[in-house]
């Protein structure tokens, strides 16, 4: 009744092609942004910001990155964790070699290093496809992780062989390092993620995104229509790795505050892939929903028994949460194989025609 576009007339092409053509969507997104930018940092406690919102947003960015590659271009990759690692190590290296440049510049710049590495490991994608490609990208995962362990130059010859985030400031306020407050870090993460989501939404709506989708649907047909496969696929790898690299740099600098090579292991790749698939392949909204479900669900599962007054042994709770998450993944796939984004679409359609569904 309230959610329909009746009476909203488009008088120009620009307004017809807007990101949110329906007025209710615009209002909704403004409300969500207001809550995210104002209400949460004002009223949220440290736990909510540090352990829920910051990691959720960072994983969302990585999920968007992988979604651009897997969901939009149809190239299955299992090297996400390593590309995130490249971003993190590049950011650390750049930030310690050039300490006078602002850290936020380096967080974004480290994405370009990850993009270059991603393009290199994307080269086999021209010859091999599908699961063969997925396993080929595992080569990137294992090789890069080996590099993180074996090349001490990457961590400035630290004895601990780990990244330790130095304190850096912006306008005199500490933004990274041990003294930075969760509120500041949250706002920075949120800003970067929102801006990069906006960029991604415009990429996938434009010429490049359409080329990617043509390649995904059938690459031979796309080639016959004049899309050059090599640049298109490599561009997808580059943009995707850029997003993953920035996510990795933020993960270390704005969330963990330190990292070693094992932080970016294969489980990280699988974790992000499961967010992409549960959220919905080829959907930016799905990236948010998938990251929320996969990341926040285990946290809730750990809180529930304590709230109900059933103290479980931590190990038992951990195992139970594994079982439940596994079962829920299967359940969600059975209920809606196209992901949570599809569920939201269906709900929207129901809302529009309500209360007369026929």
């Amino acid at each position: 009744m309230f959610y329909r576009e009746a009476g909203q007339f488009k008088t120009s092409y620009a307004s017809d092609e807007a990101v949110f053509p329906i007025r209710q969507d615009k209002i909704g997104i403004i409300v969500i942004l207001l809550v995210a930018f104002v209400a949460i940092p004002l009223f949220g406690n440290g736990f909510l910001l540090q352990a829920v919102m910051i990691p959720f947003l960072i994983y969302t960015l990585a999920t968007i990155g992988l979604n651009l590659l897997t969901g939009y271009t149809g190239l299955l990759s299992l090297g996400t964790g390593a590309f995130m690692g490249v971003g993190a190590y590049a950011c650390y290296k750049l930030a310690t070699v050039f300490p006078e440049v602002n850290i936020l510049v380096w967080i974004l710049a480290s994405g370009f290093v990850a993009a270059a590495v991603g393009v290199f490991f994307g080269l086999p994608s021209l010859r091999i496809k599908g699961f063969y490609l997925a396993i080929a990208t595992l080569a990137a995962q294992f090789f890069l992780q080996w590099c993180f362990v074996r090349i001490p130059w990457l961590v400035n010859y630290n004895i601990s062989n780990a990244i330790e985030v130095p304190t850096r400031t912006l306008f005199g306020i500490a933004v990274v390092g041990p003294t930075a407050s969760p509120q500041v870090r949250y706002l920075i993460v949120l800003t970067i993620v929102v801006v990069m989501t906006w960029i991604a939404s415009n990429i996938v709506r434009g010429r490049i995104g359409r080329m990617w989708m043509a390649v995904r649907d059938m690459d031979i047909a796309a080639e016959l229509m004049g899309i050059r496969l090599l640049p298109t696929k490599l561009l997808a790898f580059a943009v995707s790795s850029f997003y993953c690299g920035v996510a990795g740099a933020m993960m270390v600098f704005l969330w963990y505050g330190g990292a070693e090579a094992d932080t970016f292991n294969i489980n990280q790749s699988f974790f992000v892939l499961s967010m992409v698939i549960i959220g919905g392949l080829g959907s930016l909204l799905g990236s948010y929903l998938g990251a929320a479900l996969i990341f926040i669900l285990p946290i809730l599962l750990r809180l529930v028994p304590a709230e109900l007054g059933m103290p479980l042994h931590p190990a038992t709770a951990e195992h139970l949460s594994f079982i439940i998450v596994g079962a829920l993944i299967i359940l969600f796939l059975i209920v809606e194989p196209h992901g949570l984004a599809r569920l939201w679409q269906l709900a929207k359609q129901k809302l529009r025609v309500w209360p007369y569904p026929y």
Partner: protein
């Protein structure tokens, strides 16, 4: 120049100087290769019959081995005092558990998700992996366990062969693993080519629709295939567990077996075996002779690069069916 020398010359000099060491390395590679081949075999069986890339194969190996050891512990606690009897009863029960698992997977995952894209089914096996990890740790605990190899009459100790001016030491369990794997592969080959069920399996692998049309029950075939690959996983788990120990770290070997798959092709059983041997031997030789150049630990990615090198020339793997695409 000296680097090229180190890459292309020195290792071969080393090989020629100590042939017994070379034979020893080859043997170790061969054994590792046999076990990789067994895991790859489990993947291939399922991929051929149901088109599912079964990510859970690695955890099935662990789960099978853990169930066996766990049940053996339970049985000895509750009065079965003769170790051998208890071990074989536990083995029988474990096989029953693997059957139940296959049945459950068919009922809960494959049937509701029939005709979905490959990646969705892949994700479902990912969920299955989580589920089995949680279940295994909840029931049997997360501590590493010792495989009951003595009670199953698996040999122990080593044989020293005197050859080529030195000694080559062969672990008896490795010999047993190689023999059992060969018997298993031969048995599967006979099963596939000679029996009625085997023919039905091959029909399903060729085309689901055609198989349905001639009256083959897909559900039955899927249960059989998942059960067979559960058995392969169990054997792999016993062998690998006897070499080291039974723990969740074992599932990492499943990731090691993935290059074997792309090398041999997803749909080829001979490919899995030959690929396994190539990867196993290549990995050990590379680690032993070329590893010191780069620092140790190159085992973790060397196999992938070997497989990639092959893939650049044959994108469907050594023995995979040629991929024909039509617009």
């Amino acid at each position: 120049m000296s680097l090229l020398y180190k890459i292309f010359f020195t290792p071969f000099v080393q090989m020629a100087a100590a042939p017994d060491l070379l034979v020893q390395t080859l043997w170790e590679g061969l054994v590792a290769g046999v076990l990789y081949a067994l895991i790859a075999l489990g993947f291939v069986l399922i991929f051929k019959a149901s088109g599912v890339f079964n990510f859970a194969q690695g955890i099935m190996v662990v789960f099978g081995a853990l169930t066996l050891v766990g049940l053996y512990d339970l049985l000895t606690q509750y009065g079965l005092s003769i170790p051998a009897v208890a071990a074989f009863v536990a083995l029988g029960l474990t096989i029953a558990v693997m059957f139940l698992l296959a049945f459950g997977v068919e009922l809960m995952i494959l049937r509701p998700l029939v005709n979905q894209p490959d990646i969705i089914l892949f994700m479902a096996t990912f969920g299955l992996t989580y589920f089995l990890i949680g279940l295994g740790e909840l029931v049997f605990g997360g501590n590493p366990k010792i495989m009951i190899s003595e009670q199953l009459y698996l040999p122990r100790g080593a044989v020293d062969l005197k050859m080529l001016g030195g000694f080559v030491s062969l672990q008896k369990i490795d010999i047993a693993a190689a023999i059992i794997a060969s018997i298993m592969v031969a048995g599967l080959a006979v099963f596939f080519s000679k029996t009625r069920i085997g023919r039905a399996l091959r029909a399903v692998a060729d085309s689901h629709k055609a198989a349905l049309a001639v009256g083959i029950s897909l559900e039955q075939i899927w249960v059989i295939v998942w059960f067979t690959s559960g058995l392969v996983a169990l054997v792999t788990g016993i062998m690998w567990g006897a070499r080291s120990e039974v723990s969740f770290a074992l599932q990492i070997i499943a990731l090691r077996a993935l290059p074997v798959l792309i090398l041999g092709g997803f749909t080829s059983i001979p490919g899995a075996i030959v690929g396994g041997l190539i990867i196993g031997i290549g990995e050990k030789l590379g680690e032993f002779y070329w590893g010191p150049l780069l620092g140790s630990g190159i085992e973790s990615w060397l196999a992938y690069f070997i497989a990639l090198a092959f893939l650049l020339f044959r994108p469907q793997g050594l023995f995979g069916e040629k991929i024909i695409e039509r617009v």
